[in-house]
């Protein structure tokens, strides 16, 4: 698995975004899960149908050692929360870009996608850290 897939966009909060038919799928990056360590719990997600603004806290990832907020990279409506994570939070570690996705949001403004980082910019971000 590539650590920074070329087809995704990224945020400074170490989330990834993939857009299909106006719906953004959001997860945390390989780098983020690696820094957090073993993920043991995810929660505090909004309900399906809730509206969220770009920058809102839309959940929490808890590892054995750390708690990390998830920020919505976009404005829109929650379409789905990954229910597989209830029983298998470790998917965020083992499969961060696929089975470990967190939430799907129907975009209110596709222009916000321009705020996201390219794979190259994200690579530069984690290398300077």
């Amino acid at each position: 698995m590539s650590e920074i897939p070329a087809k995704l966009r990224y945020t400074e909060d170490h989330e990834w975004v993939s857009v299909t038919d106006g719906v953004a799928t959001i997860g945390i990056t390989f780098h983020a899960q690696d820094q957090l360590g073993d993920v043991v719990y995810l929660g505090d997600f909004p309900d399906e149908g809730d509206g969220v603004e770009q920058g809102d806290v839309v959940g929490v990832v808890e590892s054995v050692k750390a708690t990390s907020d998830i920020y919505s990279p976009v404005t829109g409506e929650i379409v789905e929360v990954n229910s597989d994570l209830d029983d298998s939070p470790e998917l965020v570690n083992s499969d961060p870009y696929d089975g470990g996705w967190l939430i799907k949001i129907r975009l209110a403004d596709e222009g916000e996608l321009d705020d996201l980082l390219s794979p190259g910019d994200y690579k530069a971000l984690i290398e300077q850290a």
């Binding site: 719990y41 054995v64 050692k65």
Partner: protein, 370 residues
């Protein structure tokens, strides 16, 4: 990685980095919080087989001379006179107020020779407290030997088998909280059946010059048991499952040993020690609170510093909390009023602005299955 320029390093530091240890700042030391295996795997390795911990950041004081026992009797809450030669004892040192300066392991090496193992994060305060209370009249020497010693802990049900491969000393003759001085791995060691994980295992104290050779020998001897190096992250979850107190979290200068439910090492009825009068007065007046172990009944993870609510009122904070790798439950420790601290008591922990149900449970959370 933490900026290591102002941090102290144990003699194993380069070995941690070579092993892929994620180095962090802990109590002024540059230490591995985990290795690439991850905290959960490390935790379970100790519970199921064996793990290797660098605990060289801990401090060692040597108290020696005709008055050594008397000096330690004054400094420590436990009855040091009960210690046999070759035995170790858990104790706390208290202020006059009864608040805890630090928790200690006292090893009796001879009738008048003791080693006191103290926490890394309290070394400066401990040394100040011990020297401040020590005078020529005590008729014993007090030496801070912390920078001479390296210390490794080999913990888990296969810990004895690993250490036995390195020594001719018959380890089966060393009981829990007993130790001997002998050669292991070609190095002069204190070989102690002590630890901070709830498992069987050994701690080895030896001169720091032998650190590298010892590290490699232990890992080689443990290879057949799947030994892993263990970082501070798993050290914390392992001790929490046992309700072993962590200084700075669960105990500090504002908590007395009785509040922390360390009455079993606090011999205020039997002997005098610094803080005894305050502790006796607290017993007479009624203990205000007690440290309890709890499980969350709702969702989430309770962590150090999260507010505790009882009867709709904020009451204090979670002192330690984690999702436990062995049990898969969110557990923690906190202080509750003494008359509300029984097993089954319900209360709430505020997690990110929401109050989540919690219940006092029996501790330790984990029971050794052998």
């Amino acid at each position: 990685m933490a900026n290591d320029s102002n941090l102290m390093k144990t003699p194993f530091c380069d070995l941690h980095i070579a092993a892929g240890g994620r180095m962090v700042s802990f109590a002024g030391w540059y230490m591995p919080v985990q290795y690439p295996t991850g905290i959960k795997t490390e935790h379970l390795a100790v519970r199921e087989s064996v793990g290797l911990f660098d605990v060289s950041h801990m401090g060692e004081f040597l108290v020696e001379g005709p008055g050594a026992l008397g000096f330690l009797q004054r400094m420590a809450s436990n009855d040091v006179s009960q210690l046999e030669i070759g035995q170790a004892q858990y104790a706390v040192a208290c202020l006059e107020t009864g608040g805890i300066v630090d928790d200690l392991l006292i090893y009796r090496r001879a009738a008048d020779r003791f080693l006191v193992c103290v926490n890394a994060g309290r070394l400066t305060e401990d040394w100040a407290w011990f020297t401040q209370n020590h005078s020529a009249a005590d008729d014993c020497t007090l030496v801070n030997a912390s920078s001479d010693f390296a210390q490794l802990a080999i913990q888990g049900r296969n810990g004895a088998a690993v250490v036995q491969k390195l020594t001719d000393v018959d380890l089966s003759a060393i009981g829990t909280y007993r130790f001997t001085e002998g050669v292991a791995g070609g190095v002069d060691c204190i070989i102690a059946r002590t630890g901070y994980t709830g498992e069987d295992g050994f701690e080895l104290f030896f001169h720091r010059d032998h650190a590298e050779v010892m590290w490699h020998q232990v890992l080689e001897a443990g290879a057949e048991f799947g030994i892993l190096p263990i970082g501070l992250g798993a050290r914390d979850t392992l001790r929490l499952e046992m309700k072993f107190c962590l200084y700075g979290n669960d105990i500090d200068e504002s908590t007395t040993p009785l509040e922390a439910r360390l009455g079993w090492i606090t011999k205020w009825k039997d002997k005098d020690f610094i803080g005894r009068d305050a502790i006796a007065a607290q017993v007479k007046a009624g203990m205000p609170r007690a440290l309890v172990g709890f499980e969350l009944r709702g969702k989430g993870v309770a962590r150090h510093g999260y507010p505790v609510w009882l009867d709709g009122e904020p009451l204090g904070e979670v002192t330690s909390g984690a999702m436990t790798p062995s049990l898969g439950k969110a557990i923690g420790l906190c202080y509750l009023p003494r008359d509300r601290a029984a097993v089954g008591q319900s209360f709430e922990v505020e997690i990110r602005g929401k109050r989540v149900a919690a219940e006092v449970v029996k501790t330790p959370f984990y029971q050794r299955p052998y």
